[in-house]
Symmetry: D5
Subunit: 159 residues, 10 copies
């Protein structure tokens, strides 16, 4: 089980990447491919650097997907997100890049990424992107979730 992981296991010693590195991501086989089900990752410890000011940015990343054949290994996901720590990237680019990298890794049925950043200059920015397998019903699934997205913005007062 999960013996198709190459570089790391849950119990081993870890080397943290020093710059953005999507190659740390690893996947394993979905044991429940007959079923459509969601897996959500809550990642409140995301940080990157502003590409203009070098100022650190902070976000909580909410990542949900319906796996197809492959699933993302959680420790590798942690290392991958860690690899943004010293990289400069705008908020909406972070979210789109995470989506692109995971789609490339997993070819999932459905995947969405929501980043909720802390404010700069009194305004905070929350990008949200999603994906459904092209030329399948999952594309419409993604479109419908976009339609229903965030009708109730959470209360924000910057405190």
């Amino acid at each position: 089980m999960r013996d198709d992981l190459q570089n790391l296991g849950l119990g081993g010693k870890t080397t943290y990447p020093v710059e953005y590195d999507p190659t740390v991501l690893e996947s394993f086989e979905n044991r429940h491919q007959h079923r459509d089900y969601f897996v959500k990752f809550n990642c409140p410890e995301f940080t990157s650097l502003c590409p203009i000011t070098n100022q650190p940015d902070f976000a909580t990343i909410y990542l949900q997907y319906i796996p197809d054949k492959r699933m993302v290994e959680s420790k590798s996901l942690k290392l991958y997100l860690f690899s943004f720590r010293n990289s400069g990237e705008f908020h909406e680019d972070c979210v789109n890049r995470i989506l692109d990298d995971l789609v490339a890794l997993l070819e999932p049925r459905y995947l969405e990424v929501w980043g909720k950043f802390t404010p700069r200059g009194g305004i905070s920015i929350d990008p949200y992107a999603n994906y459904g397998q092209p030329d399948t019903a999952w594309q419409d699934f993604a479109a419908q979730r976009l339609l229903m997205h965030d009708l109730y913005p959470e209360k924000i007062d910057n405190r």
Copy 2:
């Protein structure tokens, strides 16, 4: 009433299983089969072991179903969930297994299981799976609920 229970009643003395054991589950007849209605179980006291590190995992399991002919007896459900206590199982496998075991027991019209685990390495994982009776309108019911699932991820800050 409920006299079709074999091993246990709400008032009796209980033996707790020492390993994963779906046979402790018991069912009784649904007295309201003419009606489609939901029963939800809130189970904040779920714990299992990580199959790799042996580290204890903790979750709240939310379990909802629309019964058909049989209903799950709540004390037997407690014992069943308790039987994961010393078992090693990944998060998404726990959720899928609970769904499979209850479907086998109850053949319900609809059933869903949502596990919300505490974080490891700064990330928490919340699998969600559901089921609708095959070859009935309940299959589409399940698909539609999957579509609307968790558009508003709860705020997580690991504290």
Copy 3:
């Protein structure tokens, strides 16, 4: 107005029933029958007895309906719910019975009952049932609300 009430008025002295008694329920005429509108009753002071252990059970009952010709008088509803106080009834039977009794009284366009009970043995149970007038569009109304029911289970930690 409301002079069609038989036994009680809002201001009078009250005799509390000592056992389950649906006959205390009273209704009055809906003055806004041209309109489909909701009335909700929040009832956090519901208590009954476990039929096996005699242990007291506690719940909040949320009751919503769209009246047709008759409306339930609120003080009689209080007495009716009070009449479960010394009765033994399982959680899902309480909810179905309340629904049945109010449907018999009111023949409403739509009605739903959600009971949220306190936990026993670490697990709490929340049954939900609804009703739409047979052979009308309200039946589909009820089916659609069932489909959308409780996609966001409230956070429960038993404290």
Copy 4:
């Protein structure tokens, strides 16, 4: 702008009505008639009298509408709601009456009124009514919002 108001402006001295008086309501022209948009009024300071016991009742009124040609002036709305202060009216009649009076004043595309009252005898009552312009798509708009109404009753414990 808003110079079509007859009796009051935002800055003037005010006479408070001593009994229910819908004639204090004033309207002005909607400057954005080409667009369908919502305006919500949050009114947590509503009070009336119980017509049977004379006991004061308290509610928060949530009022939302999509204007057509006319909009309600907010200070006049305040006076109008104030005029219930010494009037006797049942909860569901208050909500229906507010809806009727505003429809008569504004002939809006869509309007809804939700009253959330404090409990009497352990039970609180929350009527909700809505309206869509007859013989337009807004009627179906109202019907669909009724269908989706209050699937998640707020937690109530009377404290």
Copy 5:
């Protein structure tokens, strides 16, 4: 990247406009035009003046959009919102104006603006307006979001 910005960058010194000025808004190219995705701005530090009383008004502005070719630069958005500080404008006009100005700047696929103001005279006002590209499916997208708008008004008690 973002080198098409004319007057300002994230790191530079800023001149704050002294009156309403939509020309401070700047845009840059959307790098992910192949994808429909949301960007939300949470703006809890909005203030304007009441055009009648000159009294300061305060609001949190929630602004969401699906970009087409252009995206709004966040620092210029901050300056733009700041430019209302000494301007007199009614609540619903603020919200419609912000929507109009951003549509003119961005020609987005979809955009919505929700203003939540603090109360005056015990009542608070929350206008909400949205927009979908004319003669595209985004128009229906906007109409459907309007239909689902704010079915669960947040609890308001003016404290």
Copy 6:
């Protein structure tokens, strides 16, 4: 028990006073005079009129006391607070008057009154006054509670 009440009992029909009237207050004998203990009344349904604008004011009154020989009857307290409904009184005068009236009625060991009003013009006012029996240790008790009063003002955002 409590048979020393003159005008009203918990179960009787009630006449609501039409203006400020401290004579509706009734007391009964404290059955636990050997013990110093607190009784708190939470009164979220208080309303009066602004003596200048006639505008209605709303408050939650928190009232705590340590009885000596007499205790205040709760239904008479309700009527007493109701009697402010059509009276004009400033916030700090309401609170001081309630304290004075209850001290006169009860001669308690200790008593405190905290009024938390809704905002007018963006500012809300919360007066707090307390009392200890003169020439006893309760005077110092009152002084010490004043010293520790409200070191953690509740978060207020007028919504």
Copy 7:
């Protein structure tokens, strides 16, 4: 261990008392008498009857104590509190009686009881009483806790 319990153990079958009965209380020896430490019982499922109206009352009872030689057995405490279910007692008498009964049973170093009841007629009542062993420093301990009691009344809005 705890073998000095007479009538019940945690695992046995239980007979619920039908009227107020302090004799169901049982105690066992404090195994940590060399230490002053607190034990708190949170009891949100308390109900009694109003002695005048027979109307059910509901409360959460918070009970804290520092044991001396004896400790109260938790299941017997549950039965004892259950025995108020059909008894008529005023709020402040319930709290004082619970305190008296537990002091008689345990002769504790310190004990306090706080009852928080649901509102009747818009007002809720929260009595609080405490006790310190006479002629010891615990008496002053009790007096000092009374002085610091409830400086921050929880927010109550009856919903």
Copy 8:
């Protein structure tokens, strides 16, 4: 009553000051000088300008005092706080200045000011200052409140 106010009453038309102006503050006689009692003002609508960047700053000001002979008129306080709107002042200087101005106006027994500002660069700043009448016991009162100040910093996550 309050007829010693010079420039304004609660019901009149108001001119808002265009720059920092402590002369708009007005006071009236304390009618309860025999008693030490608190009055708190919650002011969530405070805004000023950063003296270096000209960027708007936002704060909630909590202001509490024990009056001696004079009390501050609430509408004049609103105008006074409004007068910071276009003034440049650091956070800690705002708080100290408000304290100084009110002490000069009122010569109160005790006064404290707590400003809670929104973050800049990821950090928010909350100055707190207090005052007790010199050469009286109120000086020690102030010192003791400083000692107990903010032992439980509210949770801040900048959202």
Copy 9:
């Protein structure tokens, strides 16, 4: 640094104890012995077994101490708390035992343990014990904290 740890480091592979085992606890030297400061451990993942029913119990353990010469290593604390997983122990015995074991290990200046358990039979139990170095001022420190303990019991409704 921390090289005085015998069995484990933060990065190594871990063997989880199968029964209660205080010998897994390890300590290291306090590098800041010149200063009195607190370290708190929040441990929401504690579970043990009821010694009578074998039913699993769950708690959050809050553990605070002021170190003297030694500090507890956090991973060893995790293993130690894990070792209660299959042990039978009453709530108050767990808390006292944890306190005893840590005092034996660390000889701290001050230490306190608060366990907050989930309910059984509708009642939850929260023991709290503390310790100050004998024959030092820390003993009085402990006594004073006991005096101020839990004056504001958190709201509990078993949900």
Copy 10:
């Protein structure tokens, strides 16, 4: 004013330090030295590296002080905290170091630092340290605040 700052002003361009660097801290003169008052910094965007695993750690730092002659400039504080980003430091060492560095910079009357970290292995750690000027009353001030520290640990469930 504040013209004694050497390297930076609030409006300038910033170079972020790449490793732990207390020399970025700057101070300016306290303009209110005649008064004892608090300034609090809420810093939810703190991150460092675990010295053993290199894993990123996250914390909210609450920093309060009563200035003497010098005050810390807020932007320099931001840079200083940023300089921990790539440094390896244990939780309790971070907190003690921040305290030491600020004491060295400011020689304040009083200063305290509270770090609240996210969990690792299910346990989170919150160190708290404070300081009072030696040989002054501020030393006792610090001791008393330590005594009252964190009697109400915030609820932690790792979510």
